[in-house]
Amino acid sequence: MSKRMRDTDDLEVFFEAAKSSPPAPSSDFMARVLSDAEAMQPAALGVMQSMPPQQSSLKDFFDALSDAIGGWRAFAGLATVAVTGLWIGISPPAGLIEPFGSVLGTDTSALSDAFEYGDGFDFTMFEG
């Protein structure tokens, strides 16, 4: 029993020696490992995305315009106003002409005179 204990104690002395002086890697080895690490490291995300995909200049233009005027709702409003204006210009409601008529007389030629449209212009030219 005592012999066995002594053997164990002896072995412990060796283990203690091993724990107190672990094998140390050389600085060359550490430098090589770090060099590998840097060589194999994926590039940072910011560097990889330094070249964004190209967009067409027309799309850029409309995107910029849309941003400037407030998005697609503004485009829809603009389109409605344009169509309404065109329709009024082509076929004005009677109520729109009458006030001018009452001021300038029943003869619509007076209206054209007032706005210097010329002799050949007549609102009725555009009607059906």
Partner: protein, 194 residues
């Protein structure tokens, strides 16, 4: 200057940072894991040059797997331990195949260690004796008695049962005792024992 500025960061997180291009993570992982891999390889192989080759190879695998590493599935150190162990086993197998004499011959303590400090002499003698053990016994003894890992952790790392760990360490210690007995006088043990 702190050698490891990210000492509080987990290994998993460091791997993620490394994969995202963080250069300080590369440095921290190297400082943290490379000595560990080298230490294990040296205990298994007994030669500095071989241990450095294996440890560098194992670390290369760390760098390669970093972008695919799944946090929380396994411990980085456990995974690295298995990589180093497998690389050492392969190397020992190849060495045995090419030269039976080389693997059977125990290492001599280095002359400088024998001259300088008794501790170094004992350390070298232990390493030489460890090299005489079968690889699995050596691995278990190093983990249990030098790394001081608990048996369940050793079982996990070596992928064996706790009972097998106990058996390996017990047989390993008996064999080490026999091997080292013959070197007591050279290591200054004559006056130590009562």
């Amino acid at each position: 200057m702190a050698l490891d500025d990210l000492s509080d960061v987990s290994d998993d997180t460091l791997l993620q940072l490394y994969a995202n291009g963080d250069q300080s993570a590369a440095r921290s992982l190297t400082l943290r894991l490379a000595p560990r891999a080298y230490n294990q390889a040296y205990r298994m192989l007994g030669l500095q040059a071989d241990a450095e080759d294996v440890a560098q190879d194992a670390m290369m695998r760390v760098w390669k797997i970093a972008p695919e590493w799944r946090t929380g599935e396994a411990k980085v150190t456990t995974w690295l331990y298995r990589v180093v162990a497998n690389l050492c086993t392969d190397r020992l197998r190849k060495a045995r195949a090419t030269s039976l004499d080389a693997i059977d011959e125990p290492m001599d303590p280095s002359p400088s260690a024998a001259d300088d400090m008794q501790t170094n002499a004992r350390n070298d003698a232990l390493q030489a004796a460890l090299m005489d053990l079968p690889a699995r016994q050596r691995e278990a003894v190093v983990l249990r008695h030098i790394e001081e890992s608990p048996n369940p952790q050793i079982a996990e790392r070596m992928e064996i049962s706790v009972e097998t760990v106990e058996s390996l360490t017990s047989r390993g210690k008996r064999a080490l005792t026999q091997i080292l007995k013959g070197r007591k006088s050279a290591l200054g043990f004559e006056g130590d024992a009562p």
